[in-house]
Amino acid sequence: MRNSPLPKKSPAQTHVHIHWILAATLLLLAAIGVFLALTEHRISSPSSLSHAAAPSAEKTDQQTGILPETTPANQPTGIPPSATGTPTLLPSTPQPTRFGVFPLTAGGPLPVPEGILHPTNIARLQINTTLISVYAGSMAQNPQAGILCVLRENLTTGQLTLQIYQSPRADGPLTILAIQQTKLKISDSKSVGYFDLATNTFQW
């Protein structure tokens, strides 16, 4: 039996066999292509945050074209990419807040351009979970119109509001004298009054 000659394949059988080999080669090459692409992508994708990260070489809109690991960009989103389903927030250092009434030289940046507000001084306080910065002064276009610009940030939701309140009097720039719970003691060139941060009203 061992020495018996093998049956000779017909040309049609040989043709079919070669087609199978070619098909397998095709699949192999495609798989190599996929493997190389994914390998290169992973090598370039550590997930750490580092100060030493090199600057991008060119401003070529580098954010385009990289597919997310979990879902294509056109898939329904809100699906967290991590296994746990929760983000790992980076640490934030505790921040001592400077509360009180400050001159311009110490109160920090202004969220209002000089074309709108001529500032006199600044107050900062917190009511419940809302951090409040108040910028007192007058309208740049009308120095007799006293105004308060109030920036509020809800520290829970992160939402900010910035509003401007004009004094009903026209006696010049406002100055903040003191913080009294939820009220600011203020003055203009002629009187002393209050601004209630709970109701956003002036009391002269």
Partner: protein
Amino acid sequence: MHLKRTSSFLVVLALALSIVVGRMLLPASATRAATTNTGTAKGRLQLLPRPMHPLHSSALLQTKAWSSVPTPTSLYEATTNARTMYAQGCNAAHGAPGLLILDWGQPVYVGYGQYGTYDFGGHDDSDTAILHAVANFAQGVWYCRTRSTNIALAIGESNYYSGNALPLTAAAWYADGQQWGRMVNAVQSFVVNNHYNTVIGIYGAGDLETGWENFTLTSSLVNGYNSVSSRIYFDFGDDAPGHWTNYQVWYVAYGARDNLPIPEIYFNADATYDWQVLNLWACSHAGGPMYIRGVMATFIGNTPAQAWSAMYRATASNACTARTLPWFTFSTYIV
């Protein structure tokens, strides 16, 4: 013969298939030719992670329809708290697509060779703290993303000065700009490495106001940034007359290597008498117009629609500046 031809065809097909699949999976940046950063090229950069919906780009320019210009909210930051920042990012993900700026306030020197800002909540924030804060914002964007989330996020500080926040030397402002640029690079790397960059891209920004500090210090800040980062730097400041020359305002808004203007158009005069006049100056003295990519509105004066329309009309009023209008696509409202 037939077999040989078939096998050759299949091999070629396989190679072509592997190349196509490979290109589809590789980052686009790895296969794209480098582009230059200067002049017209930077003015026409695609800055969002994905092109805007046609309704939000060229169509609006043909129809001049304000209603199709999305207006995300920019923020005067008052804390670096992780959960607050995450919540803000989550809000942004559900908001309008486009450019938004996180303004961290005035520059300060925090000691030991480190710079940072004095934020709007009364805190000194080191650049490292801001880096973590913006990374948390980006995580909020990613985890709350929707189909339409598409954000160019610029991390901004101002050229406002008070107290002894920062030495008044060009060297100190240059070093501050450098550290800011490295921080922007690091956040962008974080975004890319975590594959958030299909929904968010990171840039630098400055509320560079002519009345706040002089050109020497402000340009040092900008030059320091550009010396270490090639991410676009948006000037969202003003062009208030009487402080700087045209060249100086142009330089920090557009002339510096990676800078693009997003001017404050709080009143119509800001568009017609300040920025358009400057842009005409650029046409005749700086080799071409500035590509004003969008405008900023705030709680007083113009609404976002009014601000955008005012700048659009002013830019369209002259042939030299009008050719930049196809790239005038951003509007943001800061609060």
